[in-house]
């Protein structure tokens, strides 16, 4: 897949980073404002998709099987499960219990383990949506015209 024109590439260069940062903002403020892991993850995946579309598959040197996204996805789910299981070890010894100190309501670092869940859910959603997009691109490039 070839990339788009110079104008699109330049605009993407300017915008993609900001979209990525905005996704991170939505994820880490998940316990304070509307949004959270899923919404932020979709925004991050959007910025990655934007870069791929503007520069084309050749620029990214896509291969038949992109292992990186799958591994990131699996690791983030495992991390969610590990935090949930950590509830067995600390505090009241219950699965999914919120064992970290709750902090002050409204501060960025508060609400115990909730921000951690949001971060890993965000990574997982970003990776899985990007993986769907990549597999469609790779499929299109492989199939005969």
């Amino acid at each position: 897949m070839k990339g788009m024109t110079l104008i699109v590439k330049k605009t993407t260069q300017l915008i993609a980073g900001m979209i990525f940062m905005y996704g991170i903002y939505i994820i880490v403020h998940g316990h304070l404002t509307p949004g959270g892991g899923f919404a932020g993850g979709v925004i991050i995946a959007g910025s990655l998709i934007l870069v791929t579309l503007a520069y084309g598959g050749d620029f990214l040197k896509l291969v038949k099987e992109e292992a990186g996204t799958t591994i990131v996805e699996s690791i983030s789910i495992l991390m969610v499960i590990m935090i949930a299981t950590a509830g067995f070890l600390f505090g009241i010894h219950i699965f999914f219990s919120n064992f970290l100190p709750k902090g002050v309501v409204g501060q960025l670092i508060s609400a115990g383990v909730l921000p951690l869940y949001n971060i890993f859910v965000g990574t997982e959603v970003a990776a899985s949506i990007f993986i769907i997009f990549l597999s469609l691109i790779i499929f299109k490039e492989e199939s005969p015209q």
Binding site: I71, I75, S97
Partner: protein
């Protein structure tokens, strides 16, 4: 709170994603790890089967205690009935996973196979131990979505077509279930099954309630493939790889279909006579039509798939008779007998249908065809497959001393005692036709002389033989459930929780 309960969900879930990571770097990790996980789960499910008894264990996820006796957290519930189903899921799951060690070599992408397998197990365990309507839906989606992918695992034309059909009807079912849950949530203002029961016993709108029941019954009926909703089952179950067919037919339609129907209609809804007559009618239709559709098939796996519809008809019919009697409030001991028959047959069906699909897989593995006309004379070269499939065929057709005989006997006796003579006669006739169709299977596959020249056939490898032999021993052992002492420790707690209208909800709300 019993700390072992969440392990039914987390171990297979974590296993699935560990396989996706470690399986990339270490070959053979996937197959042994899956079997190990399922062996562990089978052990703890047996522990629960023998220790639960009349108790109801409740696990409040995240430690959210009820406020003013209103449950606010997610509940996991383990009672006698759940323990039986969990046991079936993990035991058949273990044997199928062990069987796959040899069988799945003919496919590529083994990592994906085992990861999806673990996800399916996690979903089914979640459906069964969840005490919360919305979590039932979430886990149901996990298990059926992984089963869509597993049905299409061969990526040939037939498999993809079957998977697509399954997805369309499955999505319709999920839609109906979600609407039903939404309607219940709207009126009852809660999603906890026990709490919904209390909310509805304080008075409700009859018409609305009936509508909800119909929507829920059609949704889960589609998942359970009761007869007007059965169109997806023969294609999906025959196209999947054989260990997956064994899981789908032996376990999935029970765990996400029949189990939920029984649980919701006995423990959540207040049983009404009209609904129970409807359920009995659907069961009878499945039983009769399923067997007539099955007898003309020449593809082994399609034949077995149609028999699943028919045998599930027995279960639904028997439980339906129990529901009619409970709703009329007469003959409680006959109602208990009918429900016992239904659940006993459900357990037996998991064992022999799982075994039959594994046999079909073994035949397909050796000679590469599923068409009965192209087989013949396999008994000499494949003694283990032949012997185990004989056990399974005799079990499903109800020949003593195999397990199918006793459960069908209990069902027929219950139907006669409840004065449903026509249903009893139909059950006997269907059993005879089942016998005919399995004699056809035995004769064409194993004993007929074959004109086709083929290379020297060998018996299938050890893991496949092991799973089949263990399942056929289980088929024989399950007959022991008819003995009163064993029945009272295993089946009776399940029956009590279903027939007693208030025990489930009051115990859970009280904790």
């Amino acid at each position: 709170m019993n700390p072992l309960l969440p392990f039914f969900v987390i171990t297979p879930l974590a296993g699935a994603f560990l396989i996706m990571i470690i399986g990339r770097f270490v070959s053979d990790f996937n197959k042994y790890f899956t079997s190990l996980i399922l062996l562990f789960l089978a052990c703890i499910s047996f522990y629960f089967l023998f220790t639960t008894g009349e108790n109801i264990y409740v696990y409040k996820v995240g430690g959210w205690e009820p406020v003013n006796k209103v449950p606010i957290g997610i509940y996991m519930v383990m009672d006698g009935f759940t323990a039986i189903i969990v046991c079936i899921i993990n035991l058949i799951g273990f044997l199928s996973a062990f069987y796959s060690i040899s069988y799945i070599k003919r496919y590529t992408a083994e990592n994906y196979f085992y990861a999806l397998f673990c996800l399916m197990i996690a979903g089914m365990n979640g459906v069964v131990i969840s005490g919360d309507l919305f979590n039932i839906f979430v886990f149901l989606e996990i298990s059926v979505i992984s089963s869509y992918a597993l049905v299409a695992f061969g990526v040939e034309k037939n498999e993809l077509e079957a998977s697509f059909k399954y997805q369309v009807l499955g999505a319709l079912a999920s839609f109906l279930i979600l609407i039903g849950i939404g309607l219940i949530y709207w009126k009852a203002k809660t999603l906890n099954i026990a709490d919904i029961k209390t909310a509805f016993s304080n008075g409700y709108d009859k018409t609305y309630y009936l509508f909800v029941q119909i929507v829920i019954l059609s949704g889960f009926g589609l998942k359970a493939a009761i007869i007007p909703f059965h169109a997806w089952l023969p294609d999906a179950h025959s196209s999947a790889p054989s260990p997956i067919s064994a899981m789908l037919s032996g376990v999935l339609i029970k765990a996400v279909g029949i189990y939920v129907i029984i649980r919701l209609f006995f423990n959540m809804f207040i049983i009404s006579e009209s609904m129970s007559i409807l359920i009995t009618t659907l069961g009878t239709l499945s039983m009769v039509i399923g067997v007539f559709l099955a007898i003309g098939q020449w593809d082994i796996k399609r034949l077995l798939a149609y028999h699943s519809i028919s045998q599930m008809g027995y279960v639904v019919l028997s439980v339906g008779i129990g529901m009619i009697l409970v709703s009329r409030g007469i003959k409680p001991e006959v109602a208990a007998l009918a429900i016992t028959g239904g659940i006993f047959h459900l357990i037996n069906h998991a064992a022999f249908k799982g075994l039959l699909f594994l046999n079909a897989g073994a035949i397909e593995y050796t000679i590469g065809t599923r068409d009965l006309k192209e087989m013949g004379g396999l008994a000499k070269d494949m003694p283990a497959t032949s012997a185990t499939s004989f056990v399974a065929s005799m079990s499903i057709s109800g020949i003593p001393p195999f397990n199918g005989f006793f459960s069908k006997l209990v069902i027929i006796i219950a139907a006669v005692m409840a004065r449903f003579y026509l249903l009893a006669v139909l059950a006997v006739i269907v059993s005879i036709i089942t016998l005919a169709s399995f004699l056809k299977f035995q004769r064409y596959a194993f004993y007929n002389k074959s004109d086709i020249k083929r290379d020297k056939i060998k018996e299938v490898p050890f893991p496949m033989v092991f799973s089949m032999v263990i399942l056929s021993i289980i088929c024989l052992m399950l007959s022991l459930l008819i003995i009163p002492e064993i029945r009272e420790t295993i089946l009776t707690p399940a029956i009590n929780i279903l027939t007693d209208p208030l025990k489930y909800s009051s115990t859970i709300i009280g904790q």
